[in-house]
Each structure stands twice: as structure tokens, then as C-alpha cells.
Amino acid sequence: MTGVQALAAAADVTASLGSSDEGSGKVMLLLLLLAGPLYAGWVHLRYRNTDKRHHHESETRSDMLDVQAQDVRTGARTGLRSSRMQGANSRKVRAP
């Protein structure tokens, strides 16, 4: 179980640090230090498949009709460090 948690944590850290040069060095170090738990987590998922489910959101037939867009510019943000919007969740299945 700890292996599976290590996998999830590593994915998060990689996503947050991975964009800069300095960050990717840290990620590499972290992945090597966690090599044992990461390997155990990978094997666990491959054998037990506890993370698998039916992707109802993409595998169900659906039609989207009469789409109305109402977008309003509310301002600007400058000097942002990340290339991705903070809190972006449009690809998360259980967003609000």
C-alpha cells in the first residue's frame, strides 16, 4: 500500500517541480531515493489493478447540442511562475 501512495505522491511532486531545470534535478533525486516503494507500488497496481474503473465520462455515448458560451474577461495576472493555471481541474473527473 505504501508503494501505491509513494507513486501518487511522486506524480504530484513531479508535476509541481518538473517544469524548471533545477526542479527536474530534484525530481530525479527524489525518484531514486524512493526507488523501492515506487517499484513495489508499480507491481501492486499491475497485479491488483485497484486503480482501474470504467471511464464512464469518456466511454459513454453522448451528444452535446446548442452550446452557448458566455465568457467575460475579468482581469489579468502577471509574473506567474507556472505554465499551468493554479487549481485547473477541467480534466479531473470529480470536479465540482
Binding site: H54, V67, A69, L80, M85
Partner: protein, 403 residues
């Protein structure tokens, strides 16, 4: 847009489409020789008389009941009569039309029985309103031989860390054909999703001085911020959910039902009228969860689909969108209960502390899609992972010294 603001009452009057048979309980006979026993021929998908080998197919269920009309025309709640709430008393008495004996069928266990006097097979063709008989059924089209191959192949790729006892007892021939109960739902909805999006306007590098006084360059971004709102009609076709409490238990510490969920979807549009003879040679599991209990989960899945689809319309927001609200206003829904075919290889693991874990390898009885859970040889995995850790730590030390 204006009708969005108007409150829309929850549809309460249900329209029930009768999907039961012609009203004659008891013996279903071969059209050619009159025998009461027939079975599914998996190769053709047709029923075959056990005596004269005559084969016939069954009508498409959704067409027969006019349950395949345009989803945009759906309003209110339309349900097949097979979705009726399951009742506490599952026993049904059938009168044998051959000899007149009364035979009790326990519908939790089976939907047909053999008359103990004349040995004719009695079937529950007339739906009794206890939810035991589904509106439609999708016959197996993957044969047992194919299923055995799929299961064997799946486990063969996962033998090194498999629990030794599982390995010793593994016999893919023990795979069982089971008709599992599902609800198939069409939903006509209007969805509104709102949130905030960022569109990048500039990307540049700046010089930053760190704590040791050295400067280095870092990347910065400017973005415009928008309130984003999308509103659209959403037609969801054949959303399929499990309708047995046992299968809805997704605690992976106890069961591996999630792997049975993974082999969805089925081609439910090819479902046929329910005929108990399709069940001969297979087992079936009774539905024990009703429409009212499943509706919140179904609406949750419709929300997920709405957000997934809306992604196609937000390409402008190259830095991403954060959705804050999803509103789904259901205008019409259509529920059909179905038996869908699954090949199941099951293995009950008893752990040292006495707790049990039920493992499955499941094969979709139509598409052959296979997913499973194989019990682990934990000591072996721990040993190899320790070796991996030693090498990883050594490599990390080298990397640390070099940089």
C-alpha cells in the same frame, strides 16, 4: 437561455413500459417440436432447441418496446416494467401447465425451475412485480474456450509475484458465465458549467538572485483571466450501472469488484427480449437495488460526462480552466433493467489475520475485454523492492556528489 432560470419541477409521474411476456407463465415451447428446453448457441447468438436443434433469434428489446426513441424527445421518467422495486418476498408460485402442479420458484436464486412431478422446465416469463426479471438481456457471444484463454493469458503475465497458493490452485477452466444485473439509462439534460479560465498573453525570462548572491534566469508568464460559462443540451445514451449491492461495494481491501466495473461498456443496443432459456448453462445474479437508490450516482456520472464534453470548447484557455459549479437539469430519463454477460474467474484469498479478499478475473462476455486482480506474494515483492531501493539510494548518492 431564459428557461434556465425557471424552476423545473422534478418529474414525478413515471411512465412504465410493459416489457413482460404474453402473460402465460410456465412452459415455453420450441416452435417446431414442442420441447420445453433450449439453450443459447454462443456461436450464432440464437436459441437452439435441445432436441430438434431448431434455432431462432429473439427480437431486439429496445426496438420492440419503443425504448430507443430520440433522447432529445425524452421528458419525465420512462421505465421498463422490469425496473420495478425489488420486493422483500422473492418467492413466486408457478402452476405447471403440463401437469397442474404448483411449483415455487425462489427468484433470488433462479428465474426458472423444473417441475418435480413431470420434469418440464417452468420459466418465469410473466414478470411478477418483484423486480426479479429484467427488461432485456444481452446473450454471451464470447465462448467459454475464448474466456478461458483470456483469463489464462491475463494471469500468465502476472505469475512472478503471484501468491504461491493462487498459482498452485489456478485453473482457468473454472471460469463461470454469469448474467449480472445492470440498469441502462438514457438521460436528456441541460447542463451549465461555470468557472474561471486563464489565457496566456506573454512568456518571458527574468533574472533572479538566489540566497548565495548568484543570478539565474527563470521563466515567467502573464495571462488574461476570464469568467467561463458553458450551457448546452446533453443527450447521454446507454449509461450503464451495476444494480446489485454486492457489486456496488468497491472497497478494494475486501473485493475486486472494480475490475468487473472496468470491463464496461457493453453493446447494450443489441439486447434482446428477456427469455429465460438464455440462462441455461449460466448463472445469474438477482438485482437488489432500485432506480431511486441508483439515481444520485447516475446524475453524478452525467455531471462527469458534461464536464468531459465541455473540454472540447475551452481550447482558448491554454493555461487551463478551474470549474466551480456544474448544474445538470434533467428533462427526461429512461431506465431499462438488463442482464449483461460476464465470465468470472474468482479466487477467495484468506489472509494470515483471518480476513478475506475476493479476487476476480473478469471477461466481458461480448467484447472479450479482460481485467483482473491477482493476489500478491508480499514477501517476495518486499525482498525485490529492498534490492531496488539499495541500488536507487546508491545512484542518488552518486548524483548528489556530482551536482
Amino acid at each position: 437561455m431564459s428557461d434556465l432560470q425557471a424552476p423545473r419541477p422534478v418529474p414525478d409521474g413515471e411512465r412504465v413500459v410493459r416489457t413482460g411476456g404474453d402473460g402465460t407463465d410456465g412452459i415455453v415451447r420450441c416452435e417446431r417440436c414442442g420441447a420445453s428446453e433450449a439453450t443459447l448457441n454462443v456461436a450464432t447468438g440464437m436459441l437452439r432447441c435441445n432436441f430438434c436443434r431448431f434455432e431462432w433469434s429473439t427480437q431486439n428489446a429496445l426496438q420492440a418496446f419503443d425504448l430507443d426513441g430520440a433522447i432529445g424527445d425524452l421528458s419525465g421518467v420512462v421505465v421498463g416494467s422490469g425496473t420495478a422495486d425489488v420486493t422483500a418476498d422473492p418467492a413466486v408460485t408457478l402452476r405447471c401447465t403440463a401437469c397442474g402442479a404448483d411449483v415455487v420458484v425462489d427468484t433470488t436464486a433462479a428465474v426458472h425451475a423444473r417441475c418435480h412431478w413431470c420434469r418440464n422446465t417452468l420459466s418465469l416469463t410473466e414478470q411478477v412485480p418483484n423486480g426479479a426479471v429484467p427488461d432485456m438481456l444481452l446473450p454471451f457471444s464470447v465462448s467459454k474456450d475464448e474466456a478461458v484463454k483470456h483469463v489464462a493469458e491475463f494471469v500468465r503475465k502476472r505469475t512472478f509475484y503471484a501468491h504461491p497458493r493462487f498459482r498452485a490452485e489456478f485453473q482457468p477452466e473454472n471460469v463461470m458465465g454469469v448474467y449480472l444485473p445492470y440498469m441502462v439509462v438514457d438521460v436528456n439534460a441541460h447542463a451549465t458549467v461555470t468557472g474561471e479560465g486563464e489565457h496566456q498573453t506573454r512568456s518571458y525570462t527574468v533574472q533572479v538572485r538566489d540566497s548565495e548572491g548568484k543570478t539565474r534566469s527563470e521563466r515567467r508568464y502573464d495571462a488574461d483571466v476570464y469568467d467561463v460559462r458553458r450551457s448546452f443540451d446533453l443527450h447521454v445514451d446507454d449509461l450503464t450501472v451495476e444494480s446489485s449491492a454486492q457489486r456496488l461495494d468497491r472497497d478494494t481491501a475486501r473485493t475486486s469488484n472494480n475490475v468487473i466495473n472496468t470491463i464496461l461498456p457493453f453493446d447494450v443496443e443489441n439486447g434482446v427480449l428477456y427469455d429465460p432459456r438464455y440462462l441455461q448453462g449460466f448463472t445469474s445474479e438477482r438485482r437488489d437495488v432500485d432506480v431511486g437508490v441508483l439515481r444520485p450516482a447516475v446524475l453524478g456520472q452525467v455531471s462527469d460526462i458534461a464536464r468531459w464534453r465541455v473540454d472540447e470548447t475551452i481550447a482558448f484557455y491554454d493555461r487551463g480552466v478551474r470549474w466551480d459549479t456544474t448544474d445538470v437539469d434533467v428533462r427526461g430519463e429512461r431506465w431499462v433493467s438488463a442482464y449483461l454477460p460476464v465470465w468470472l474467474y474468482s479466487y477467495l484469498q484468506t489472509k494470515r489475520d483471518g480476513s478475506t479478499l475476493l479476487h476476480y478475473v473478469a471477461v466481458n462476455g461480448r467484447t472479450g475485454e479482460t481485467m483482473g486482480s491477482v493476489p500478491l506474494n508480499v514477501p517476495r515483492l518486499a525482498l525485490v523492492a529492498s534490492v531496488v531501493e539499495v541500488f536507487g539510494a546508491a545512484a542518488a548518492a552518486v548524483l548528489w556528489v556530482l551536482t
